[in-house]
């Protein structure tokens, strides 16, 4: 895991050094003389060779880092994931602010889409060919095809402006008001869940149909087990293995930033932070958030591996 993180951080560094943009120029102000540019570059540590900057970055995680001295100093205490000169804050504090927003959106939406998606898939499979099946799958096709930006805007238009029953933007902290937190998140959750549930519904349906044709299901039925037990304990349990694999990866990726949803609903999460950093060549923030996103994907993979053991005793 450490090796993967090192590789990700190294790759991020190198990619941004191959690109032509100069972070020091972005910080130098309107009329920037060559000597000012040199001073800014030296202050930010960008005049060092790339390998040295990378080592400084790694060292700061454990030992912290101070730019300048005295009243003009900027201190980034350990664990220092970098300092954003554009935002005048440490990357860790930026992540600390934005992560709860993204986590709130991602976890709520994930629970919603996993439950509704698999339930819809199971129902659809059990009622194959009926009007219910067709209705569920048609809705799923709409969900799979619709861009989240469009779904978000339509939801805002309907529930925010026409019906005026839900807030269209802003995030309220869970600690500040749990009720308002959930109230403000209803639309983002539903938008994300609508799109992902459609994919999960289709996958569950096809897996379920396959499982229902398997020998072990026929055997279970032949043993005289109740249908409900056959479906839940035997068929669905097997269906959940690929579903959980996908769910883990999706959730991990989503925690790295639900970019579009955050943007539409004016929530300042990791995705919005990352996009802003890319636009302003804020290398420290990009590196910090990318590494964090990589951690989420790795941890999610690890958790998925553990879940296999629960679902499938053969693993």
């Amino acid at each position: 895991m450490i090796a993967v993180l090192l590789l990700v951080s190294l790759a991020t560094f190198l990619i941004f050094y191959i690109l032509p943009a100069d972070p020091a120029r972005a910080e130098c102000g309107r009329l920037c003389t060559p000597s000012q540019l040199r001073d800014v570059s030296a202050f930010m540590g960008l005049n060092e060779p790339v390998w040295r900057q990378y080592l400084d970055f790694l060292a700061a995680i454990f030992a912290g880092r101070t730019y300048g001295s005295g009243q003009g100093a900027i201190v980034c205490s350990a664990p220092c994931l970098g300092y954003s000169f554009q935002q005048s804050r440490t990357v860790l504090s930026l992540i600390g602010q934005t992560l709860p927003v993204t986590a709130s959106i991602a976890l709520g939406a994930a629970v919603l889409w996993l439950l509704t998606g698999t339930a819809a898939g199971v129902v659809s499979a059990l009622r194959r060919g009926t009007a219910t099946d067709r209705a569920v799958m048609t809705t799923a096709i709409v969900g799979v095809s619709a861009p989240s930006y469009l779904v978000g805007l339509l939801a805002i238009l309907l529930f925010g402006f026409k019906l005026n029953i839900l807030p269209v933007s802003g995030y309220v902290s869970l600690l500040q008001s749990p009720g308002q937190w959930a109230f403000h998140l209803i639309l983002p959750w539903c938008t994300l869940a609508f799109i992902s549930a459609a994919i999960y519904g289709r996958l569950t349906r096809s897996q379920m149909l396959e499982a229902l044709g398997e020998d072990y299901v026929r055997t279970a039925r032949a043993k005289g087990l109740r249908e409900r037990r056959v479906i839940v304990r035997h068929a669905l349990r097997n269906v959940m293995i690929p579903i959980i694999t996908m769910f883990g990866l999706d959730l991990g990726a989503l925690l790295g930033g639900a970019v579009i949803t955050e943007k539409v609903y004016s929530m300042y999460g990791l995705g919005a932070l990352l996009i802003g950093a890319v636009q302003t060549t804020d290398l420290s923030t990009i590196s910090g958030v990318t590494i964090l996103a990589a951690v989420f994907v790795l941890v999610a993979n690890f958790v998925v591996d553990l879940t296999y053991k629960l679902l499938d005793p053969r693993v």
């Binding site: 032509p20 003389t33 100093a73 900027i74 005048s88 943007k263 609903y265």
Partner: protein, 558 residues
């Protein structure tokens, strides 16, 4: 919102921090005669803004004098922007715009009485000096900072945190401050109106922390600020309106709602629900919503559109081997179809054709057209110029940013030049890559570049010098035509050293024509910016310059 590299005051701000763009036309209360009502006091004004951050350290601010930073900080001078009439520089903390001596190399200011910071401390000349010295600290780089190269003896100055002071800023007493410049500079009163010249309590503003909990001097103080979410400004109880006739200080509280999606923001203001009535948008209304507003009388009455202002232009890279011949560049001037560019920009509601450089509303502007070719261009004349130059096949690379409007304008340019037999290849880049290409030290990689510019303060200097002075080629600066014409440089130097605004304006007009005679730039259109307000907001207007609303005037009806 468009994010061109340049847009001086306005656009770049969007990139970095503050501005919350806005701006509307001369109609404070919808179409019709511009009016300014006496500002009612009280209420909570909300400003919806797509920016995620506000820069709360004046040393690093990109904000215009009359937008967000104008609410928080006073400077020696500020701008007086009325719904009609030319913008003026007027005294703010100082008693006058400045008294020049030594031919404009030395400027003296005296402070008013009864001026205080938000912590109750009196504002002195030492605080003004300290605030300016801070801008030289590497930890506080960024922002407009026009003063940095102008103040004498600043080479290698590391800022006041080193314990060193600038000897070129003299403070004989707590009420007097004298600036020694390294050349005569007639625009100094405008330079001292910029946010980076704001006073900061001497010795009490560490680089790392001041911007998190700033001491302010304007009508408002910062109650709280969460990047990406909101900034809450409340009244600065030590602000004395008797010393500050240029800020209304109307609302009791101002809330910046940050990180707004411009489409949702415009929809919110069009709907004018209970939460939006006391709000205005800091972002340009997107083209789709602009069309929607046209068919909605209520919203249309609340739309404010600026006069034609920021210049959209095609920089002609005069150092490109293909464009060294003046006749070839002249062909580019004649072949352009400005009508098509207006359409690509969003139609007449969004842009007017431009044939000159200096922004309308700024002293020195003279309308003229050195290459008369009608609104749709003269491809025949262009072909004949190319033939005279002996050029039979011309293929040019046009660098542009990859946002929808820039792409659309680039295609209009491509089609217009195609009619004159000039093949244009569009090189669409991200804003960072575009900026690196056109402002870098190498002249290769592009022949033409599509860009946009609005001055940071209303002086023709800021239309001309950053874009066409030879010192502004490369090193990240914006002379992207890469023009180095001694005649233009001489005019710039002469105009800068001229103290009288009217006399300087005449020289700037000559510089405008000299640059056009070089055919180093094809002016395309002057853009208009549109903004929306809620139904309970009044005194929301845009003057002749800049193309943004005057935040410091906006108030709420009661």
């Amino acid at each position: 919102m468009r994010k061109h590299i340049v847009l001086s005051g306005s656009a770049a701000i969007a990139l970095t921090a503050v501005l919350a763009a806005c701006g509307g036309a001369n109609n404070a209360s919808g179409p019709g005669t511009p009016t300014v009502a006496p500002a009612a006091k009280g209420g909570t004004l909300t400003i919806l803004d797509s920016e995620t951050t506000l820069t709360l350290d004046p040393a690093q601010s990109w904000s215009l004098a009359i937008t967000s930073s104008g609410l928080l900080w006073r400077r020696l001078t500020t701008w007086k922007i009325a719904p009609t009439g030319a913008p003026e520089v007027v005294p703010d903390l100082a008693t006058s715009d400045g008294t020049p001596s030594d031919g404009g190399r030395v400027w003296t200011y005296h402070l008013k009485s009864g001026i205080y910071f938000s912590n109750g401390q009196p504002i002195t000349s030492y605080d003004v000096k300290y605030g300016i010295e801070r801008t030289y600290a590497p930890a506080l780089s960024g922002g407009l900072n026009y003063q940095k190269p102008l103040i004498a003896g600043t080479a290698g100055y590391p800022g006041p945190f080193s314990g060193k002071q600038l000897s070129s800023i003299v403070t004989p007493n707590s009420k007097t401050i004298v600036f020694h410049l390294n050349k005569p500079y007639g625009n100094w009163p405008w330079v001292v109106s910029t946010t980076s010249m704001a006073p900061v309590p001497e010795g009490k503003a560490p680089a790392a922390t001041f911007g998190k909990d700033p001491v302010t001097s304007g009508p408002y103080a910062v109650q709280s600020y969460t990047p990406g979410t909101s900034a809450v400004l409340v009244r600065n109880k030590y602000w004395n309106s008797a010393t500050d006739p240029n800020r209304s200080g109307g609302p009791s509280k101002i809330i910046f709602q940050l990180n707004q999606d411009p489409t949702v923001e415009a929809q919110t203001l069009i709907a004018d629900g209970p939460n939006a009535q006391d709000a205005f948008g800091a972002d340009f209304v997107p083209p789709a919503q602009l069309a929607q507003v046209e068919s909605n009388p209520s919203a249309k009455a609340r739309l404010v559109t600026s006069p034609a202002s920021p210049l959209e232009y095609l920089a002609v890279n005069v150092q490109s081997p293909k464009l060294k011949n003046l006749k070839v560049r002249g062909a580019l001037e004649y072949a352009i179809n400005r009508q098509a560019v207006v359409v690509a920009s969003g139609g007449p509601v969004a842009a007017d054709p431009a044939t000159t450089l200096i922004t309308p509303g700024i002293v020195g502007r003279q309308p003229y057209d050195l290459y008369p070719a009608g609104s749709s261009g003269d491809p025949a004349k262009a072909k004949s110029l190319l033939a005279q130059a002996g050029v039979h096949k011309l293929t040019l690379t046009l660098a542009t940013q990859n946002d929808p409007i820039s792409t659309s304008i680039s295609q209009a340019v491509q089609q217009a030049y195609s009619a004159a037999g000039i093949n244009v290849q569009i090189k669409a880049l991200s804003s960072n890559a575009f900026s690196a290409l056109v402002t870098g030290n190498s002249a290769s990689g592009y022949d033409l570049a599509l860009s946009s510019w609005q001055p940071d303060f209303p002086s023709a200097m800021d239309n001309i010098e950053p874009l066409f002075a030879s010192a502004m080629v490369g090193n990240g600066n914006y002379n992207i035509s890469r023009l180095a014409d001694p005649k233009v440089d001489a005019l710039i130097n002469r105009a800068e050293g001229t103290i009288s605004g009217a006399a300087a304006g005449k020289i700037w007009a000559q510089a405008d024509k000299a640059i056009m005679a070089d055919a180093a730039v094809v002016p395309l259109v002057y853009n208009k910016n549109s903004f929306l307000r809620g139904s309970n907001v009044e005194n929301f207007y845009i003057g002749e310059f800049p193309a943004y609303p005057v935040y410091t005037a906006a108030s709420l009806k009661h």
